[in-house]
């Protein structure tokens, strides 16, 4: 059964259904419904909700619970996520799995409380100090937020690494119908091993030796080896966990790259542009890291240009440029600081980049060209058919067939000419109308 839920509430419920039993957080808009919901639900499932004294405390509590093998989550928004970076770096270093939600708001500094995507660099490049990455998942609907939150716990456990859910504020605040039937009581992925590395106070055995949760490696050679081991995990994540969605890219001359709520606005703009005959498609990264570079590269043979749309001054556009590697122009359109791009702004940008003209006279010219081409093609067809037929050795015996073929070809040609003439007439009519309008306007102008 479907239920109308806010993204924030849906993420919290999805986490609980995926076995998350510890939540530590500190309030900040626009993610407050997550801790609010957790404060109500955690006691009902025998879990622990704790509002900490600060973001720094919350992330270190996550470190502790994760180190003991529990499924644990924290959530915050941009300024709060900045505060958590030290802890996140420690958690990565100690190879502890956890899920971190960032409902991004405008920055820098305290910024504003309205939605943004300006934490892309921070999220995809690690954010804290040291050589590291987090898998970053970016939902574009409330239902997808449920799926990705649950997958995040599996990915975190699989690689013993934090996973970030990055929403753009709108995802947290928006209400949409959600089906939680599939999500309820979700079991961990079957490939996941028992957490024998966890510090549970167990008696050390050969199978599960004494557990130490640590990110300090004083000997540089040992640390380099550790970083190489982490890198192997990142390579494995890049190979196995990359996700994206493609929409109408097959014939797209302009390929747009957008994620989260921005991709929804782009989708509406695409519908409008497709109705005008503009060949535009979209690649929506679902994982921001690993970035779906291969998917973008696969469109290079058919795409003429790329456009990256973000709620930032341009961050993901760097990854698109790295993927395209100079083979095609990559343009950018963005709003930031809590401003959200509108459908019409994006439509305008698409028209500009594809050279679409609203001018009726130039449209009539294009139709005229199409008509001439159609007539030309039809005549060319006749010539080719006659040529082939005359050269054929069975020419003499097949007069009957020839007659029929000639009739067919003639019909085709007539059809082509008729189509051409129709297109020509429509084009000319439109042009005449436009001219009339212009004259009318001029007349009106004269009266004034």
């Amino acid at each position: 059964m479907k239920k109308l839920m806010k993204g924030n509430e849906a993420i919290a419920e999805a986490a609980i259904q995926a076995g998350c039993r510890f939540f530590f957080g500190y309030p900040i808009t626009p993610q407050n419904q997550i801790p609010e919901y957790m404060s109500k639900r955690m006691p009902q499932v025998g879990g622990c909700f704790l509002q900490s004294e600060s973001e720094v405390a919350a992330i270190n509590m996550v470190f502790g619970a994760g180190g003991a093998g529990a499924r644990v989550m924290t959530s915050s928004s941009s300024p709060g996520i900045s505060l958590k970076q030290e802890g996140i770096s420690y958690i990565v270093g100690a190879e502890v799995p956890c899920v971190i939600v960032n409902m991004v708001r405008g920055g820098p500094g305290l910024g504003g409380i309205q939605p943004a995507q300006s934490d892309y660099y921070q999220a995809t490049r690690g954010g804290g100090h040291g050589d590291y990455h987090m898998c970053v998942l970016a939902p574009s609907s409330v239902q997808e937020a449920v799926t990705l939150t649950q997958d995040a716990f599996d990915i975190a456990d699989r690689y013993r690494n934090p996973v970030m859910i990055m929403g753009d504020g709108l995802i947290g605040q928006m209400m949409e119908p959600v089906d939680l039937d599939e999500a309820s009581n979700r079991k961990p992925a079957p490939d996941l091993q028992e957490k024998k590395w966890a510090a549970t106070g167990h008696v050390p055995t050969e199978d599960a030796p004494r557990a130490v949760i640590n990110s300090l490696y004083i000997d540089p050679q040992v640390l380099e080896n550790h970083c190489k081991h982490l890198q192997e995990k990142y390579d494995a994540i890049e190979a196995a966990e990359c996700r994206w969605q493609e929409e109408q890219v097959e014939d797209a001359e302009l390929v747009i790259v957008a994620y989260g709520t921005t991709s929804r606005i782009v989708r509406s703009a695409m519908r409008k542009c497709r109705a005008l005959g503009i060949k535009v498609g979209m690649i929506r990264p679902i994982t921001l890291w690993p970035f779906p570079e291969a998917a973008i590269r696969a469109t290079i043979p058919t795409a003429e240009k790329y456009l990256c749309v973000e709620m930032s001054m341009g961050q993901m556009v760097d990854d698109v440029r790295l993927a395209v590697n100079g083979e095609r122009p990559v343009e950018f359109y963005g709003r930031t600081g809590g401003m959200v791009p509108t459908v019409n702004e994006i439509v305008g940008k698409i028209k500009e980049l594809t050279g679409y003209s609203e001018d009726i006279l130039s449209q009539a010219g294009k139709l005229f060209n199409d008509a001439v081409n159609a007539v030309g093609a039809a005549f060319g067809d006749i010539g080719k058919k006659i040529d082939e037929t005359v050269k054929s050795p069975e020419f003499a015996q097949k007069t009957e067939t020839l007659k029929k073929q000639a009739e067919d070809t003639a019909a085709k040609a007539a059809d082509g000419i008729a189509k051409g003439a129709d297109a020509l007439a429509t084009g000319l009519n439109k042009a005449i109308d436009a001219l009339k309008k212009q004259f009318d306007n001029n007349d009106k102008g004269g009266e004034q």
Binding site: L170, M174, E176, P177, R264, R267, S268, R271
Partner: protein, 179 residues
Amino acid sequence: MEKQFLVAGFGGQGVLLIGQLIAKAAMRQGYEVSWMPAYGPEMRGGEANCAVVVSDEPIGSPLVSEPPVLVAMNKPSLVKFMPKMPKGGVLLYNATLIDGVELRTDIKVIPVHCNEIADQLQNARTSNMVMLGAIREATDVVTQENLIETLRDWLGEKKAAMLDINKQAIIEGEKVVKG
């Protein structure tokens, strides 16, 4: 079919609830829906609005920047959003609280005396339900029966006693549009 609504007013007028009930009722009727709030940090008195999209296909943008249907519960909302409406749009406004605004002539305008009607019903808090009834009648986005059932669910058992007065307010709002 896609219908877009922008419901705007000040915090405390129940504008977010108007939008939520439209979205919930439309969802009950099998449509795809989205509800998107926008409000400041204030508990009461600040600007508040919500965008509702109802569609029979998956919804693209959940935002409504050029509202074909604008519901303005107070004057600042009307002044702010009326210029953004497309030609032929439908404007429903709370005529009790709004006057002295030059209204556009290229849109359909429906004045609703929300607070006066609510006062006549002897429950000032139902003014948003009066408007909800007017929206339903003017746009036919959901059936009356479905809207009342959605309201019954929303009130739940604890507030079941409030159903009648709110239902009455919805019906009075519908009457305004029927004329």
